[in-house]
Symmetry: C2
Amino acid sequence: MGTAKLKRLQAAGWKSGSADEFLGLSDEETMLVDLKLSLVDAVRQSRQKRGLSQIDLAQRMGSSQSRVAKLETGDPSVSLDLIVRAFFATGGTRQELQRAVGAKVKVAA
Amino acid sequence: MGTAKLKRLQAAGWKSGSADEFLGLSDEETMLVDLKLSLVDAVRQSRQKRGLSQIDLAQRMGSSQSRVAKLETGDPSVSLDLIVRAFFATGGTRQELQRAVGAKVKVAA
DNA sequence: TCAGTTTATGTCGGATTTGACATACATACA
DNA sequence: TGTATGTATGTCAAATCCGACATAAACTGA
């Protein structure tokens, strides 16, 4: 992964939102970042809807609170695999995941 | 990742298909594996539809033919990140990805 | 204010995933 | 038969991602 770029994105306080062609991010990289942000949103919403804390979720997926926190803050060290695993661990279904894939994230810079 | 289990799955020649509760795969792990298989299918179809070889695709995504081959054969060493990146690199759109997420893979054991 | 709960940030050693390379296998066409 | 093209498999060092831990910050409710 071109994580360096994502880290710069993060560092700059960016949340992105399909209009983040501001530094050499290729189209596919941008699409992946946007997708991740959407799914991260879905994870947080699904987790909160079921009244789970980050610790609860971490336990369910055999992970740690800090990793869940990084996940939800969009830390570039978190893989799409982990995001999707987290989504399923909240109780999210494949159909709900599909919906989340379709819902582009809205963002204030 | 519980890759050991996936490797055993692979080794046994399994392709899985939502009915693979045959060895201690947790529900979420199973869902993730099934999802990956669906997306792998989508990558291959998208690649072939555009007349790209594995080498072509590898170049587009800055990867190698061998990794694309592993990807398409469902090798457990391939991450969801790479699968999605590959899908986008074929020219696949987010909407098409969404469709692929909804389409569960059909499999002969 | 304080204690309790939840979330965020930084770091690190170990595990996983990576691209690259070699090479084998397959198919097609001369 | 050969040889060209495409795909699969095995290996490895480097890059990335992981859970865990410490600790800070934010937000409650007393």
